[in-house]
């Protein structure tokens, strides 16, 4: 997959959808392309987060530690971004992400990402919009959940 295809992939990630292509290209260029074999771990729950990953090909499982061992809570497919919360604020990883087949991803480093945001206010605004959308969706979900009779 070439750099320009990666830019296309990034474009399809909601977080980056509104960002102008030139900036996305720079983001893709300064990110590392990494490949994982099935079973290899992208990051572990509890670790400090230093990068977000955009899945280019392949798929991965999101696993959460529980008393009964690891439970798969979701899967990720190409075009998905994982670990983005950890690079926006200083929280440790909330889940483990493990490749379920051969997987290629774009590793966006925290410092690069923050630098891009700092230098491109319009990009920050776009991301803010996406996050606000998410927050309102979550809030709506929560109030729906609360209003439901127990």
């Amino acid at each position: 997959m070439l750099l320009k295809d990666e830019v296309g992939m990034l474009k399809r990630v909601p977080l980056f959808a509104g960002v102008e292509p030139a900036k996305l290209k720079l983001l893709a260029f300064t990110s590392d392309r990494v490949s994982y074999n099935a079973g290899q771990v992208l990051f572990r729950q509890g670790e400090e987060g230093d990068a977000a990953y955009v899945i280019l090909t392949g798929s991965a499982d999101i696993l959460v530690e529980s008393d009964a061992g690891q439970i798969k809570v979701a899967g990720v497919e190409p075009n998905a971004i994982v670990g983005e919360i950890a690079i926006l604020c200083d929280v440790s990883r909330t889940a483990t992400v493990q490749a379920s087949e051969r997987l290629e991803a774009l590793r966006i480093r925290k410092d690069h990402f923050l630098r891009m945001l700092k230098e491109n206010p319009e990009m920050t605004l776009e991301i803010l919009k996406v996050l606000a959308d998410r927050l309102s969706a979550t809030t709506a979900e929560l109030s729906l959940e609360r209003s439901r009779p127990h």
């Binding site: 997959m1 070439l2 750099l3 320009k4 990666e6 030139a22 290209k25 720079l26 260029f29 300064t30 590392d32 392309r33 990494v34 490949s35 994982y36 074999n37 290899q40 992208l42 290629e104 410092d111 690069h112 630098r115």
Partner: protein
Amino acid sequence: MDKSLARYIWKHTWRQQIWILCVVGISMIPYFMSFDLPKQIVNGPIQGEGFESAGTTQPFLAISIDLPWIGTLNLFNGFQLGREQMLYALSFFFLFLVMVNGLFKFYINTYKGRLGERMLRRLRFGLVDRVLRFPPFQFKRVKAAEVATMVKDEVEPLGGFIGDAFVQPALLGGQALTALVFILLQNFWLGMIAAAIVAVQVILIPKMRKRLIRLGRERQLTARQLSGRVGEIVDGINTIHVHDTSNYERADIAERLGKIFKIRYDLYQWKFLVKFINNLLAQVTPFLFYLVGGYLALRGRVDVGQLVAVIAAYKDLPGPLKDLIDWDQSRQDVQVKYQQVYEQFSVDRLVDPKIQALVQEEPNALAVPLSVTNLTMVDDSGAPLLDRVSLQVMPGQTVAIVGTPNGGGDALAEALARISWPESGRVTLGNDDLQDLPESVTGRRASYASSDAYLFAGTLRDNLFYGLKHAPLTPTKYEGAAATLRDWQIGEAKLSGNPDYDIASDWIDYASVGATGPADIIHAVMPMLAAVDLSRDILELGLRSAIDPRLHAALTGRIVELRSAMRERLEQEGLSEVVVPFEPGAYNSEATVGENLLFGAVTGKDWSPRKIAANPYFASVLAADALDEALYGMGLDIAEQAVELFRDLPPDHPFFQQLGLMTAEELPDYEALLQKLTGKPFATVSAEDRAKIIAVSFEYVEPRYRFGLLTDDIRQRVVVARQRFYEGLPGALQDAIEPYNPEKYTAAASVMDNVLFGRISNVEADAPEKIRALVFSVLENLELYDEVLDVGLDYNVGVAGRRLSNVQRQKLDVARAFLKKADIIVLNRPLLALDQRQQEQIVRNIFDELTRQQRSPTVIWVLPSAGMAPLFDRIFVFDAGSLVEEGSYETLRSENGIFRTLVSQ
């Protein structure tokens, strides 16, 4: 050192001074004779005095002495010679005297020079010796660069002066006096004129020069301060950058330079004024001679020969006189310099030389209790750090010192290491006061490490074994010319009061680490390096170094075996795709285009992709199948993308580190170049521009940059060009490039590159870490681990060890403290750069290693936190300079004291 320079010089050189004074005295005789001779030649054979009638002869070389009261004493009646013969004889005698005078001068000058240089050597050594014996607090007051300037530059003129100290006034005074007396003897009045002018010169000039001396002193002080400040700038460079104070420093330096300039300019002006007056006075005398002498000659009261001789003699008067005045000036100047240096170096409570005496024998073990009695330590301001602390540690105990911040534990550790001296109270080892023990005991049977580990410029090995170099234990044997040279060195060292310890001997005390010599010391120290977790670091340094195949035949000779073992392991671990091997007939997709073309390691620093691209031979290889045009097209594409991506970023933007194809500084050049070249056919582009664009394509790696530019066609043509390149390689390039050969070690590449013989994938996750772990295990399996460790030990640590990380420096310092057979080991928060878990692991490892070595030294470890305390036999708790609790971990835990709060923090 004596307070007075003259006394210092006389004390060390009086024998030589007397000898040279005698020689000077004797040299005066031919000197005087050479004055008298011109008169004899002119008056005698030339003007015919005494040869009035033909055939008269005169005695030549008749020696007679006029003695008062006794009368004339005839020693030799001489040869009788005619007028012409006399002319020849006297002229040749004159020549002879010129030679003799010259030879005397030569001898005296060399003798003086040697005398001065020896004294300079003695003085400089004495100064450094004093620095080595300064009490600890002195180092808080002196700037390193200033001390260095004093030892190096400021005493330098002393060397020149010392040879002249007594001889010069005697010689010059003698010469001037001889000339003056001679003139006086010729004619009283001419003599008086000369004497009067001389008197003016001798009195006036030194007075004027007083100001010169004062200025000179100021110049010296300001220059010394300047060098101190420059030293500070270098040492504190990070602080300067962090606080944006570089312009403040610039202002300071500029101000100092201005001050120095003013002083120096004053100095020049005054110096040349003095010179002018001096010259004027010197020139006035001949004027008077011509006037008065001529008048006297006209009146017949002086003969012409006398006048010629007087003028000739006078020529020799201003010279010595000027030199004499110069000498006096340099005497005062040097006296001032010496005074200043003396004041800087005469320090109270200098360490007794006996404490530092060189001892060859192994000192007795210090298996004695260590007692601290009423110890009080204060800092530079006089504030107490430790207040009347008493404690006792039995031999073999391991003791942890914990405490509140500023508790005083580190002050105690410094007192135990003698890095700081007690204000009152004492530390005793058995019956001996620690302050009185020689360093040959404390430096070998005790050791110390702290977090501000200092490493000397040199290799890691030098620094690791630095603590073992107490005495030249294994003397070097010299033969033939080397032996003569060594004897000369010893002789000279003695004459200058320097020690004659041979730095070329092997100073390392192998026995003290349980080794027998250089061959097995690595094995002896390896467990301790592993204990402080440093062996991995050293191994990595080794892997990253390029080595001389001749020196490490064990490693380079087995390279083929090593590579195949590595391949095998990669396959076993399923990592064979992570490393793409170099194959002579294939394109390596993880290597750059340039690497694929050259397929070899570039030797020396003279080569870079840019230079290679511009090399005519290389260009011709590329041109042969129009590969240059393909690469040029690729280069244009790459440059365009790079410019497009990075154009708007400031040059110091961190993203440029990711670019790799060109530097931030080159980007604007390429931008301009692209504008110029876009749409231009390849054939019309100049060779220089072609090379610039092609050089960009050399850096390209497809999996890393993902521009999709590298076609299979280009790959194949690169491989073909590679073969073509080596087939016709001209001689000049053969030394510059070492081709990769699967069967051979590539000396120009690092050990790691040699073992891998390929490139690690740019995209596989965690590839470098996995591969490194694999390399370590392969080296271990093939028993080449020590060999690479040995390579790593040759790593140059840089000035003050700055090429190592702080963590590495601290680990090295701890390893060094535990290497020697010390009975008491004091550690003052030595691993501050590590986190507590790592520190704890290292403490455990070290204790395990000591047990394995069956050693049980007393260990006193000042801990940064109480968490590691359970590892120790006893714990001392300090608070505000006092010892507040002591006991085992369990006891202290059960008590409700400070320790409990410290542990729970």
